[in-house]
């Protein structure tokens, strides 16, 4: 996302044929139709905010993984794959799979049986109103800003690829999303996320397929990348992580395993309400446990349509004279190097897809952006209505009033997002700050939630002050590395050879440890919560109900073991 700003400096890449426009228009038509169609089944707050808790494991699972599979994600990580090689895959595998399985098998029973409506709602049950207020306010604020950033990024990408007017893209995208989320709430958002998942694969899978045909298979691709870059480190996931200076990302395996694989990943996948909300819509405990396992299985396949195109670009993109085409960083785009890393996916799309398929690819990107916005806005309206408005401003309103507030906050949230999008359009650096803001909360929140679920002795004061200390320390470290001396990065990331990516991972690790440490110390200094009050909220104080699995093949743990086994095999294959 950060280098999307650089796209401003390039020229329009292509244009749409009438058949491409037809494909795009068909998508918009079905999206709006779905909004009107499900409105009739969206009358109560449970239906509006949690899709009536009637989604099957497959729908909740696909929606769970799709909510994270936005276009910024696709384009950004395809660019990262070009820049850093196959190391970018860590964000899809170790940076997602273990955490998703942990959510399904260990944490989901507590979220589900506590009947909470949201993650801040769980914090209220476990740690009281203080922790809920802090988590809800920060989440609502960040989510709505992210929606605006997403909106602006979509407009920018459409301007660069197709030459569309920025305001046109912002308003068309925003109005469409506002209509279908306002009408159908989470149900609408989930249906569209499932559609988007199918569309993304339909629109993007041809690129790696045709690319591998052109390159002559994986082995030849590796050889061509080594020849073009003069290095073999672009196609190894682990063997170059022994030292910060041995890999293009400037990270160490401890940062990947503990910072990314444990803290960042677990923080995002287990406590970010945007994704957890999808699983809470499951129709029973077994479906709620299976949904993240199904999501993890599909998540493992995503590098095929994201990372492989980035790697292929290193091998097959050529200048008209036959020399290797070098993509550059956002600040280095000029007449000699007209394309930046972030344009990898559109460049590869244009390389292989003519009229019709191009429209499908663009529709997939638009669907991804709109789903991202819908995910943010639906999560925002839920947290706003339940955890801010209903908890602090108007506690005794009717269910009908809360549904009205949900619809109203969807529209207002979208308007704030549009405002943010225009703000970002005038100061692109705001995007970096919004992303940094998000990183402040995720790691400490995971510390608070996981201690709350697994440790009976954690007290309300411990939870609140742990969360506050973790968040404050994360902000402090970010200020230190951003505005402090040059040595600040090496202190936080433990090496003079560390690069900014490593800073994010180690900052998350330290802020999580501080959160956990403060929670433990404060908890031991304060009066424990009687065990009777922890029933349904904490491991050891809660009899986990039978999830209804009959036979081995119905058991979520069985499928989780299959997924984690494939995960290990894949990591060994690309070691």
């Amino acid at each position: 996302m950060q280098s999307a700003a650089a796209l401003l400096f390039t020229t329009q890449l292509t244009h749409l044929a009438p058949i491409d426009v037809l494909i795009l228009v068909l998508y918009f038509a079905i999206v709006i139709f779905i909004g009107f169609y499900v409105k009739g089944a969206t009358n109560t707050s449970e239906e509006f905010f949690l899709a009536g808790r009637e989604m099957s494991a497959w729908i909740a699972g696909l929606s769970f993984v799709s909510a994270n599979l936005g276009s910024l994600e696709l384009m950004g990580w395809a660019g990262a794959a070009y820049q850093y090689g196959i190391l970018a895959t860590h964000w899809y595998w170790i940076g997602a799979i273990p955490a998703m399985l942990f959510l399904g098998i260990v944490m989901m029973p507590f979220y589900y049986i506590s009947k909470t409506h949201s993650v801040p709602g769980y914090l209220q049950l476990r740690f009281g109103e203080g922790a809920r207020g802090l988590a809800a306010a920060s989440f609502a604020f960040m989510t709505i800003l992210m929606s605006g950033v997403n909106m602006y990024a979509m407009a920018l990408v459409m301007k660069v690829i197709l030459g569309w007017n920025i305001s046109f893209s912002i308003w068309v995208g925003a109005i469409t999303v506002a209509i279908y989320v306002m009408l159908g709430g989470l149900r609408s958002a989930i249906i569209n996320e499932v559609l988007q998942f199918v569309l993304i694969w339909a629109g993007a899978a041809l690129i790696p397929i045709l690319g591998l045909v052109e390159a002559g298979g994986w082995t030849n691709l590796k050889a061509q990348i080594a020849a073009n870059t003069g290095s073999t480190e672009f196609t190894h996931m682990w063997s170059t992580l022994g030292h910060f200076r041995d890999n293009p990302m400037g990270v160490h395996w401890t940062g990947i395993v503990f910072g990314l694989g444990f803290v960042v990943s677990f923080g995002y996948w287990t406590t970010d309400f945007l994704v957890v909300q999808r699983v809470l819509s499951a129709n029973n405990l077994r479906a709620a446990k299976m949904a993240p396992v199904i999501g993890a299985a599909f998540k493992m396949a995503v590098p095929f349509i994201v990372i492989v195109p980035g790697l292929l670009a290193l091998a097959v993109l050529k200048n008209p004279d036959g020399s290797v085409l070098h993509l550059v960083g956002e600040n280095a785009v000029n007449a000699a190097h007209p394309y930046s890393y972030n344009e990898v996916l559109p460049l590869m799309l244009i390389r292989y897809c003519g009229p019709g398929l191009l429209g499908l690819g663009i529709t997939a990107l638009v669907a991804g952006f709109m789903s991202g916005m819908a995910g943010n806005v639906s999560a925002f309206s839920t947290v706003w209505t339940y955890d801010i408005y209903g908890a602090f401003l108007n506690k005794k309103a009717s269910d009908k009033h809360y549904v009205f507030m949900g619809r109203l906050s969807t529209v207002l949230g979208m308007l704030v997002s549009i405002l943010t999008a225009y703000l970002v359009a005038h100061a692109a650096s705001i995007m970096d700050y919004v992303q940094a803001l998000f990183s402040f909360f995720i790691a400490p929140l995971f510390g608070t939630v996981v201690l709350g679920m697994l440790w009976k002795r954690a007290t309300k004061a411990g939870g609140f002050w742990g969360l506050a200390a973790g968040t404050t320390s994360s902000i402090g470290m970010w200020l230190y590395t951003t505005y402090g001396p040059a040595s600040a990065l090496s202190r936080i990331a433990l090496s003079a050879d560390a690069k900014p990516m490593a800073e994010t991972l180690y900052r998350a690790l330290w802020s999580w440890l501080i959160c956990v440490g403060v929670t433990i110390v404060v908890s031991y200094c304060t009066t424990p919560i009687p065990e009777a009050q922890l029933a349904g909220l904490v491991y050891g104080a809660t009899p986990i109900p039978d999830d209804g699995s009959r036979g081995l093949f119905q058991k979520p743990i069985f499928w989780a073991i299959i997924v984690i086994t494939v995960f290990f095999i894949l990591n060994l294959m690309f070691f």
């Binding site: 009637e54 729908i59 041809l206 045709l210 292989y352």
Partner: protein, 75 residues
Amino acid sequence: MAEGTGRGERLSIWFFVGMLTLVYGLVLAPYGAWEWIGNHEAPTVLNNLHPTFWWGSLMLIFGLFYTIKFRPGKV
């Protein structure tokens, strides 16, 4: 029950998935055939493999399967 769209609704979420891919297949496969037969291929890499026709056909089959399997009224 129509899965995913609400209790009492007739259209399943998978029906929407099938319909969208079916319609896209119906647009892409004939267009790809026209490109192939009439030598109107766009100047893309590997256009000799006729990806629009084959990909469109694949979407058509996928869409047809889901549309029929999850058609309204089928229990």
